[in-house]
Amino acid sequence: MIDGILTGLQTAFSPINLLMVFVGCFAGTFIGMLPGLGPVSAIALMIPITYGLDPASGLILIAGVYYGAIFGGSTSAILINAPGVSGAVATAFDGYPLAQRGQAGKALAIAAYGSFAGGTVGAILLLVFVPFLAKVSLSFQSADYFALMLFGCTAVAAFSGKGQVVKAILMTLLGLMLATVGEDPSGIQRFTFGNADFYDGISFLLLSMATFALAEALIVVLRGSGGSATASDLEKDKLGSMKLSSDEVRDIAPAVGRSSILGFFVGILPGAGATIASFLAYGMERNAAPGDKKEEFGDGSHRGLAAPETANNAASTGSFVPLLTLGIPGSATTAVMLGALLSYGVQPGPRRYIDSPAVFWSVIISMYVGNIILLVLNLPLIPYISKLLSVPRQLLTPIILFFSLMGVYLVSFNTIDLSMMVAIGAIAVVIRILDYPLAPLLLGFILGGMLEDNLRRALLIWDGSFAFLWQRPITATIMVITLLTLLIPVIGSLRDGRRARHPDPFME
């Protein structure tokens, strides 16, 4: 492990990779700051650029973009009350009131220090957990992987919130169905209708760009929201001081500590992610706060800002655990990252930890370097980067659409992909209007191929019998957890529906 870390350090601190982290953090902050464009879109936009790089540098750039986008999302939440990402919604609760009181600089500093602390604790926990889990998962067989992927699919649905469970399951299934388009492992064409453009299936980049970047930009146009801030809102002198007093540091330190650990473990859970972690941390700190401090929540509380910011960064680090150890993404962002890894020819999972320690450790170390760069370089540059928020929406939207289209074109150089992207983007807008979540669709799509491969292999090993589902202890355990994860929220949804039809008179 020590050798691996040293190799990783050497790779991560090479001049080209340091440049990649810096460029990634900077570009990510820019993109993440734009309302409607989150880490998924930021990563998807950068993927074509990474194709010319070696896998380690490409991944390092992507990890930098990821952290940068999260930080950028928080910046727009604090400055103009427009969270660039859902994980930054809780940040706006107290960050924006602070900015309105002329303490935007302080709010940004708290967000940056909280993010840094969350990232640091997350990276330490990652160092402990990843090798351990990678070793355990070496004993996993196809049957266990199949069960794990099924768990990944259902967990996303389970964490999707009240009234959304069945919708999330449907969207996951839709993603899985889209993944079957193209040539199957035995060479048979499925759902291609004789069209050569479908032989390789639908490109994950095309799907992620169409469903996230394109659909988000179009929804903003449709709602007429997300207007740009006026330049005067973002003047440097209006940001105020970025320095924190020792009393303020003492006040937020316990909240930062608690939220780091909570965030990391929530992040590990497939489907939970940064948004749930940030809300849980916010709620936990509000409940734990003494009377007078509790009243400050929602009105510019330092703890209320530090807690969700710390938790969402720690959760982002935690979400790498299932990706790196099992090769299973736990969120839409890590699903896009998995897609990028697969397109480099890198299959993440326990073998990666043993076979390519340089790639494995350099990514983990670079994620930490990304945190440092965000703090040391991005924070002082925020007054200048935030000028981007004052670019008029009427110029910004067509530019975002143009870059999304170019991002897809530059991978395939096929204009049919552009038409397909527009069609999928239009469908994604309808899905968004109908309030169906798109993240499970992407996750199902990415997991689809691997799920089928592992099921095929497991059935071959078990002579066509599904007995592996209950006869292999590891598979059976994961299947029981999967069923519980799926059934509990479904039953809850049905019960809520019944309660809505027959309301309890005493509860009215």
């Binding site: 048979i188 009427q394 143009f402 552009l418 527009v422 109908l434």
Partner: protein, 164 residues
Amino acid sequence: MRILDNKDRVGGLLILAFAVAYLRYALVLPLDPTDPNASFTSRTLPVGLAVASIVFALVQLAMSFRGGSGGSIREAVRGYRWRPMLLLLVLMLGYSLMFQTLGFLVSSFTFLLLGFFIMGERRIILSVVVAGGLVTLLWALLTQAFGLFLDPGDLMRAIVGSAG
């Protein structure tokens, strides 16, 4: 048509229709001729997914009727600005169809210029400078720095060909 003014219900219906069509094709997918009786064929997963989707879509529909879940579509889209969104969709489709003919430079410049106009930008000089600058910068970066080939387009080829 008030019965269809429900987000959950319409979503459920659309997915049900998709899943039924998908199942219809899944059932007639060709099998591996060397092993038609294999336990796992090209149809296994698609059929399973289609059946599961149909079941869950029916659950969703039942919930929308019995539990009253899902908000009104009409309410949700009230105040939406359809015109610019639809025009942008048409513009993107036009861009994808004209790219090969007009080439990267002309089609991208036109796309941005029209996009700015659709979004309400009326300062022509600013639009031309931003669109022209961005497209030229990207073209230079991709072709000169990254060494990528960007299609100059049939039109440009014809003009250069006739001039030569």
